[in-house]
């Protein structure tokens, strides 16, 4: 355990950028400079936390007492650092991409957009580093609020409806989360995240434990898009594409699944869940979501909506992995957090590039676009293959580990779900690739690739997916981290 202000500084880096961005609203270049500067500083700060995390050491800072006995504590434990690395790393790319997208699409209210974006990232880091439930709630609600202006950004009727739906879902969820935390505090006398959990099988009678679990599930599950709590997510596609990319790949929904991993591994603990069979409930929901979302993805004509349903499905891979309660299940689930992040962000970046460049957002209109946007579509294809689990992308690594986790837990049904879902993934991505490469397009004369601001980030994320697939343990040692985290979550390891 090391006391250090680095977790706080990493969080403050983007928070401090918010007023700077707001003040430089009239000077776009300066404004974007603040965003990029904050993103870089943030990433470097998180990176300095990595060596300690790899050794299993936690870097933490306690600030003040929120309630008697409940401090405001930021704890960069291995899982937190893992998530923070992904979020802050991809923020840099998203920032570059946003600049290209927002300027290319001539969006209004760009200052509000970049400020909210920075606030989102601060909240996400807060979620990653939250050391107890109350700190977690603070940032979880902050994230809800910071995302609201982004969802409503276009101010069209669709955006308005989406933002209302988003608020209804997330605020109701927030209330459930508070209720669950209050009950946890009263029952266990603690709200701290402890590997292995703070509940014991005897903490509560079974029905009460089920109630708390369901409250947590609703409270956090909304953000992670577990069915039937997912429907805000496709509607939120009304937002600009970088927001969708951030929402779906990095910040919001990943905060949701990250929170579920926290609750499963650090609040209830695998022992308690296994004894009360609550993990089966989670598994059924996640398995159902994986399959249903993949099927629903087929009938989406809008590219972003199809990606949204794909996201819903893939988030539940992560939940499914955690619900296995086996070491490799946790490892796979944690690996899929990063794998899905790099691949899905690539796909959304591509969708955005196509929209800004060709003003196309429906799949039937995508015929032949690979000829004019070769880099974009190559990246798209790679990422889509990765999501289907084709080696050597990082999607394969995580899926393989998840499958091993299922076997380790002696469960075959989750394994089948993974396999079927992989096929479905190919099924709904293939038509897009087919259209782009093999059909003749119309009105494409004179069109070129999108601006470098957009193409470079999406190529980088696609390459990242490949590199992390071939060398899962290089660069950031994601594999070691994930294995180490999983070990702490299973008693007897």
């Amino acid at each position: 355990m090391i006391e250090s202000a680095v977790p706080l500084l990493a969080l403050v880096a983007s928070l401090a950028a918010v007023p700077l961005i707001l003040l430089s609203g009239t000077k776009p270049n300066l404004r974007e400079f603040w965003t990029l500067l904050a993103a870089l500083i943030k990433f470097c700060l998180v990176l300095t936390l990595l060596p300690n995390a790899l050794q299993g050491t936690t870097t933490q800072i306690t600030l003040l007492e929120l309630f008697p006995g409940i401090p405001f504590i930021l704890k960069a434990d291995p899982l937190g650092v893992y998530f923070a690395l992904i979020a802050s790393g991809l923020w840099i790319l998203t920032s570059f991409y946003s600049i290209g997208y927002m300027r290319g699409a001539h969006e209004k209210n760009q200052t509000r957009y970049f400020a909210s974006f920075a606030l989102c990232l601060s909240s996400t880091l807060g979620i990653a580093f939250a050391g107890n439930l109350v700190t977690f709630i603070v940032f979880f609600e902050m994230l809800t609020l910071a995302t609201y202006p982004l969802v409503i950004h276009k101010e069209t009727p669709a955006a308005l409806a989406a933002s209302r739906q988003y608020l209804v879902y997330t605020l109701t969820a927030g209330v459930c989360l508070i209720a669950a935390s209050v009950i946890t505090q009263v029952t266990t006398g603690s709200t701290a995240f402890v590997p292995g959990g703070i509940y014991t099988p005897l903490s509560l009678p079974d029905p009460a434990l089920l109630l708390v679990f369901v409250l947590f599930l609703v409270g956090i599950g909304v953000k992670s898009g577990i069915m039937p709590l997912h429907s805000w997510l496709p509607s939120a596609m009304a937002a600009p594409t970088p927001v969708s990319a951030l929402l779906h790949a990095v910040a919001v929904v990943k905060s949701g699944v990250f929170g579920l991993v926290r609750v499963v591994g650090f609040i209830f603990g695998s022992e308690t869940l296994a004894q009360s069979h609550l993990n089966i409930l989670l598994m059924i929901l996640a398995g159902f979501t994986v399959l249903t979302a993949s099927l629903l993805a087929f009938k989406q004509e809008n590219l972003k909506k199809r990606l949204a349903y794909s996201t819903v499905g893939h988030l539940s891979y992560i939940v499914l992995g955690a619900s296995l309660l086996s070491p490799l299940g946790f490892t796979g689930s944690i690996l899929h957090i990063s794998a899905h992040a790099t691949m899905k962000i690539t796909l959304f970046f591509c969708a955005g590039a196509i929209y800004v460049n060709l003003h196309k957002e429906n799949i039937p209109d995508l015929n032949g676009i690979a000829k004019v946007m070769p880099f974009t579509m190559a990246a798209f294809t790679l990422a889509a293959l990765g999501l289907a689990g084709v080696p050597p992308l990082n999607g394969f690594v995580s899926k393989w580990t998840l499958a091993q986790g299922a076997l380790q837990a002696d469960m075959l049904v989750p394994l089948f779900i993974l396999v079927i879902s992989g096929l479905l993934n190919i099924g709904y991505f293939f038509p897009i690739i087919h259209r782009a490469y093999f059909k003749e397009g119309e009105h494409l004369e004179g069109k070129k690739e999108a601006s470098a601001f957009m193409v470079v980030p999406l190529v980088i994320t696609a390459l990242l997916s490949v590199l992390l697939g071939i060398f899962p343990n290089h660069f950031f040692h994601f594999y070691d981290l994930a294995t180490a985290i999983a070990k702490t979550l299973i008693p007897g390891n």
Partner: protein
């Protein structure tokens, strides 16, 4: 400055100023406002100082004229009353700073009597908070009530009518309280709170005591606008001038709730009384209904001040809910919510005042994007206060709700948890509707430039909004003194 003299200094300043303001006004009309501010500032600073120095020190009993209690009258200055004094005097000071713009617009000719009444009103509230004697409490209650009838009758067209209705209903409340005092006196033979507290365990089961307590609860229930005795409130706040509503709404009903907390929890000891009549359960149920009722009615309002008034009915429910839980967490929640709600409501009413001054109305259906452009700071304050009302962390509202929720679960009355959280969502429904209008709804007229209110009106609004953040994060420090108070 000696702490021993603080309580009397705080109260006496208001009395002196109430008498001096007419004299000052006779000299120079312009001096009324600054002079009032000086008096209010003295009291506010003294009570903040008093609160800080109450940390770790014994409760102070201030006796008058050398007459020792129970014969004489005494002030009790302990961590609870010093906390409440700090809240009401600071809020009053900020509202008074703000009042200049309102006074110039809404009652330019009545400044002298108005400010004198404000001073009397504050004297009454301070006296109620400080007194250690249930009859003196009635005296101060009447001082504050009578002056508030006057304050509330200055305003829109129907202000006189609503104030008169308040007078009738408020007097009934006062009479019920007085009747309750008679019963208690008949049985115990004393009016001193400490004396009564010592005697209650032996006499708690006597019908006289129970009747007296029920009457007191009913009397202050009216004053605190406990459902279903809240009918006087919404119209009153909506019709009165902006300063009166911003002054009375945050602290008027809160002081009544404080009296209930002090009498029921600390003097009577609610558990002893509950054994005979389920008073705390009744208060809890009424408060819960009030919370939900107030929120639902707030959603239906089309005018900002009326909406805020209904939301007050709901919010006072939180305080009384915490009281009815009668456990340490509930107590903390109730006390903290007195502070939180005072800040939030004051801030929101000040924003309403700013809007009425600039726009001439606070009609919710006319809110649109131009407001965010014209009044960026007022709207920022509004948004912060609204988010705090919803109970989003790290703003203050979250913290009192958390205490109340923990208290509810600890007291094994988990259904209160549902009430508290459901009301958060209802709050979100009516506040986000407005926030969305302010920031998103397109304006129909031509783009307008920034036109926020004068600095003297903006500053208190922003201080209050910022206070929400500070209070939230500092709540354990603020309450640390009160922790051992009720266990």
């Amino acid at each position: 400055m000696k702490v021993q003299q603080l309580p009397i200094l705080i109260a006496f300043t208001y009395l002196a100023w109430a008498l001096l303001i007419p004299l000052i006004a006779a000299l120079r009309k312009n001096w009324i406002y600054p002079f009032t501010l000086v008096g209010s500032a003295i009291s506010a600073c003294a009570s903040i100082y008093g609160f800080i120095s109450s940390f770790g020190s014994e409760p102070l009993r201030y006796t008058f004229g050398g007459w020792a209690p129970p014969l004489g009258v005494e002030f009790i200055y302990d961590s609870l009353s010093s906390f409440i004094l700090m809240v009401i005097n600071t809020i009053a000071f900020l509202v008074l700073i703000h009042s200049k713009g309102v006074a110039d617009r809404e009652f330019p000719e009545k400044k002298m009597p108005y400010y004198a009444l404000v001073m009397l009103f504050m004297l009454g509230l301070n006296g109620i908070t400080l007194t250690g004697d249930i009859f003196t409490l009635f005296v101060f209650l009447e001082i504050s009530s009578l002056s508030s009838y006057g304050l509330m009758s200055v305003g829109k067209k129907f202000a006189v009518y609503t104030a008169f209705r308040y007078l009738i209903i408020g007097s009934i409340g006062g009479s019920l309280y007085l009747l309750g005092v008679f019963y208690l006196y008949t049985v115990t033979g004393t009016l001193n709170m400490a004396d009564i507290a010592a005697m209650i365990p032996q006499v708690a089961t006597q019908p006289g005591i129970v009747t007296g307590i029920i009457l007191i609860v009913a009397g202050f229930g009216i004053k605190a606008a406990l459902f279903p005795m809240h009918g006087w409130l919404p119209d009153l706040y909506a019709q009165a001038n902006s300063t009166s509503s911003a002054l009375v709404a945050p602290i008027g009903t809160k002081v009544a709730a404080y009296v209930l907390i002090r009498l029921l929890l600390l003097v009577f000891g609610i558990n002893a009384v509950d054994a005979v009549a389920p008073i705390s359960t009744i208060i809890g149920i009424l408060a819960s209904i009030g919370i939900i009722y107030g929120s639902i009615y707030a959603i239906r309002q089309t005018q900002l001040k009326r909406m805020l008034a209904y939301s007050s009915v709901s919010q006072i429910g939180y305080v009384l809910l915490g009281l009815s839980l009668a456990n340490p967490m509930g107590f903390r929640g109730a006390v903290l919510h007195i502070l939180n709600h005072a800040i939030m409501k004051a801030c929101l009413f000040l924003v309403a005042a700013n809007l009425e001054k600039q726009e001439g109305h606070s009609d919710l259906s006319k809110f649109n994007k131009s407001f965010a452009k014209k009044y960026p700071w007022s709207m920022l304050a509004f948004t912060l206060a609204a988010l705090s009302m919803i109970g989003l962390p790290p703003l203050a509202g979250f913290f009192s709700k958390w205490y109340l929720a923990v208290g509810a679960v600890e007291g094994e009355q988990s259904w209160y948890l549902i009430v508290i959280l459901a009301s958060s969502l209802l709050n979100a429904a009516y506040f986000f509707r407005i926030i969305e209008r302010i920031y998103i709804k397109p304006a129909d007229d031509t783009p307008s430039s920034q036109n926020d209110v004068a600095f003297s009106m903006l500053l208190p609004t922003l201080i209050l909004a910022l206070g929400l953040l500070v209070v939230g994060l500092m709540n354990t420090t603020l309450l640390s003194n009160l922790l051992p108070f009720y266990d």
